[in-house]
């Protein structure tokens, strides 16, 4: 390959990679400034008891927006259960916010032996996630809040377990 062409190809490759990374960052991993609106929320658990999210302030908080009608959400939840088991003692708290009915949530939680709280948010909860970077208002949507209450990471679609581990361990 001629040197001139080689450099052009290299520039082209760099541009394409940058474009791909840029779109990826813009759509999937955009982290808004702080999570105060989220931490100010109080949502019922499946038995109807109000649970303020502020009770977990100071922990590394992973908030997962999900629903039983969302197959990809259900598929990734065993990974979240494992992460809670592994890092819970070190200060990780996972909280699920379901755009769903309490009975369905309860049934599924029992099925997978959910070891973190599942709060009932209804469709309004997905709308809330829109302000937190979920511009498509789709599920699953996960965000990680650091101990200071800043959003450290957001992701639309199932989070790869390795990626989640990376993000969490840096913050713990």
């Amino acid at each position: 390959m001629a040197p001139q062409l080689r450099s052009r190809v290299a520039i082209g490759a760099a541009a394409l990679l940058a474009l791909g990374a840029g779109i990826g960052l813009a759509l999937f991993d955009r982290a808004p400034a702080d999570a105060s609106a989220l931490l100010a929320l109080t949502l019922p658990d499946p038995s109807g008891h109000p649970q303020p999210l502020s009770q977990w302030q100071g922990k590394v908080l992973v908030v997962n927006f999900w629903a039983t009608w969302c197959g990809p959400c259900r598929e990734e939840m065993p990974d979240l259960v494992r992460a809670q088991k592994e890092y819970g003692a070190k200060g990780l708290q996972i909280v699920g916010i379901a755009a769903d009915d309490a009975d369905k949530v309860q049934q599924f939680a029992k099925e997978i032996q959910l070891n973190y709280p599942a709060l009932i948010g209804g469709y309004a909860a997905i709308d809330l996630s829109k302000d937190l970077g979920n511009s498509l208002v789709a599920l699953p949507f996960t965000l990680v809040v650091d101990r200071q209450g800043k959003v450290a990471y957001t992701h639309l679609g199932p989070v790869k377990p390795d990626k989640l581990r990376d993000v969490i361990t840096k913050l713990l």
Binding site: R8, G20, L27, A67, C70, A99, A138
Partner: protein, 161 residues
């Protein structure tokens, strides 16, 4: 290999590498992924259609139609059979890909007036995301005049019968 040919190949190879990554991070909004449209077939029938983008699917039992103004009535026939999938949690679930069309019968509606159709749908993308129920609307002008007979058309004669 000539230089232009090498260049074309190099660019094609790079695009092949870059495109799947782009596809994964660019999900459509639900109204584009599940594009709703409607047209009048006659004075009392509307053809409703969802055009579903590649890599997306709709749930059959989440599709609903309603009309505006509510003085009219809408008869929704059974939706066509979808592709059956065994869901671990919900059991038997039917989904559509590509497109789905259904003829809605409109009753007690004044012909010649615009009819607003609301279509609710819910689906997911293969990249691993699902959308909450989305409502889209389409306005249809039902033709004024005589009511088209509802009896089925006689089969058209073709060259082999």
């Amino acid at each position: 290999m000539t230089r232009p040919a090498a260049r074309v190949l190099a660019i094609a190879a790079l695009l092949a590498l870059a495109l799947p990554a782009l596809g994964q991070v660019h999900p459509l909004s639900p109204d584009k992924a599940f594009l709703f449209s409607a047209k009048a077939l006659d004075a009392q029938t509307v053809e409703a259609r969802f055009t579903i983008a590649d890599g997306y699917y709709l749930y059959r039992d989440k599709i609903r139609f309603a009309i505006d103004p509510a003085s009219g009535a809408l008869l929704t026939p059974a939706l066509p059979a979808g592709k059956i999938k065994q869901d671990e949690f919900f059991g038997r679930v039917e989904t559509y890909r590509g497109s789905v069309t259904v003829n809605l019968a409109v009753r007690n509606f004044t012909p010649g007036k615009p009819l607003v159709i609301h279509a609710e749908s819910q689906g997911c993308a293969d990249v691993g995301i699902c959308y909450p129920p989305t409502t889209q609307t389409a306005t249809v002008a039902l033709p004024a005049g005589s009511i088209v007979p509802s009896a089925p058309e006689a089969p058209k004669k073709t060259w082999f019968n």
